[in-house]
């Protein structure tokens, strides 16, 4: 009985989170925290932090990561399924409706003008997102070289950006290993 109730509650809570967040990802975290930690007490701040750390080290969509994680914690696999559906459904419904109408709207001259303006807004938004992300890494020579190479690769090459990600990960592993070896050596000479 209680479990049934929980699943429905889980679904509607994540439905609300999905419907109320603009921008997704990190913009979602304050609303998620309020609903899940303060109101329902399904998770604590430690869990939220854990979700953020896990999301930073795994691929995928942050909103889905959070819903799956908290849903699983509350009610196992069923919980994760219900919470994830909840967070997705508002997007799916709203965008489906909009996209049916947008094709007709786009033909209106003034709407076309608005979209021409929006293109500039989107370019600026993406640039700002990149700046914000770049505050989260430590810029040593290695990071700068990788960044510039991936930038040039994406601008000028016709190959998939997936290769850039794979090469970046491999180089990171090698670089991390070299630093590790160097530190171990320094430690060894220090102690001897």
């Amino acid at each position: 009985m209680k479990k049934q109730h929980n699943l429905l509650d889980l679904f509607t809570t994540f439905l609300k989170i999905g419907a109320l967040t603009f921008g997704g990802g990190y913009a979602m975290m304050p609303i998620m925290r309020k609903e899940v930690v303060e109101k329902k007490q399904w998770a604590d701040d430690d869990d939220i932090l854990k979700i953020l750390v896990i999301s930073e080290s795994t691929p995928g969509v942050l909103a889905v990561n959070s819903a799956t994680f908290i849903g699983y914690k509350i009610a196992g696999f069923k919980g994760s399924l219900v919470a994830t559906l909840g967070v997705i459904i508002p997007s799916f419904v709203i965008i489906s409706l909009i996209s049916v109408f947008i094709i007709q709207f786009q033909q209106l001259t003034w709407v076309a003008y608005a979209f021409k303006g929006i293109q500039a807004g989107v370019a600026i938004l993406i640039f700002k997102a990149a700046l914000k992300l770049s505050k989260k890494i430590h810029f040593d020579l290695f990071a700068i070289i990788i960044l510039v190479c991936s930038l040039l690769y994406a601008l000028f090459s016709e190959f998939s950006v997936i290769y850039a990600l794979l090469v970046g990960a491999i180089l990171g592993i090698i670089y991390g290993f070299l630093i590790h070896v160097k530190e171990a050596k320094a430690d060894a000479t220090h102690t001897s």
């Binding site: 109320l20 930073e56 997007s91 293109q119 600026i124 997102a129 990149a130």
Partner: protein, 201 residues
């Protein structure tokens, strides 16, 4: 149609699997797979990003649904919904599976050195990719005939109005740093209508 649905699903599964760092990090991948593969035009993609930013819900899911809906718009609404279902399921599934594994098996492997080290290289790549998209968009707004991938530096078609809008939006967002994405999109939409609609040339 079934084949197209499977292809759409697989593309978005790959996109979901290789997105590190949220919705914006997904854009270079979408651009590659879908614009490169001829599924949508670059202009339509930018419109979708704008709408996805100014409607509620995760940007990644919004974009996937949008692109799925757009693929069968000439067939029927039912077919469009199937397309949207395929793309949305595709983009969500990698996250769902990975987090489910972590939640049930524990997150110990994430603390491993190899994963940490991989991110030393992954993070700057992601940032470089996102900057490349914004540079490509800015060039496209001002000099639409340039194609860097073909090394085609065609300066004709210089769009002065596009440049004006970019400068105004850039300046305003630099001044009001806390302006939300929704407001930035709305502001630039109004600016677009004013400058393209009211300026005589």
């Amino acid at each position: 149609m079934l084949l197209t649905l499977l292809k759409l699903f697989w593309m978005f599964f790959k996109i979901g699997l290789f997105t590190f760092g949220g919705g914006y990090a997904m854009i270079p991948l979408i651009k590659d797979e879908l614009v490169g593969g001829g599924y949508i035009s670059a202009d339509v993609l930018i419109n979708f990003i704008g709408i996805s930013e100014s409607t509620p819900g995760p940007v990644a899911v919004n974009m996937a649904t949008f692109i799925g809906m757009s693929q069968f718009q000439d067939v029927s609404i039912g077919a469009s919904l199937l397309g949207a279902f395929a793309t949305t399921l595709g983009v969500v599934l990698p996250s769902f599976i990975i987090i489910l594994l972590i939640a049930s098996l524990g997150s110990k492997f994430l603390q491993s050195k190899v994963v940490n080290h991989a991110f030393l290289g992954l993070k700057p790549v992601v940032i470089g990719l996102i900057i490349s998209v914004s540079i490509a968009l800015i060039i496209h707004a001002v000099l639409p005939n340039i194609d860097l991938k073909q090394l085609n530096l065609d300066l004709s078609g210089f769009n002065f109005k596009g440049l004006i809008i970019l400068i105004i939006v850039g300046a305003v967002t630099m001044f009001y740093k806390k302006m939300s994405p929704v407001k930035i999109i709305l502001f630039s939409a109004i600016l677009g209508m004013l400058i393209y609609g009211l300026l005589p040339w």
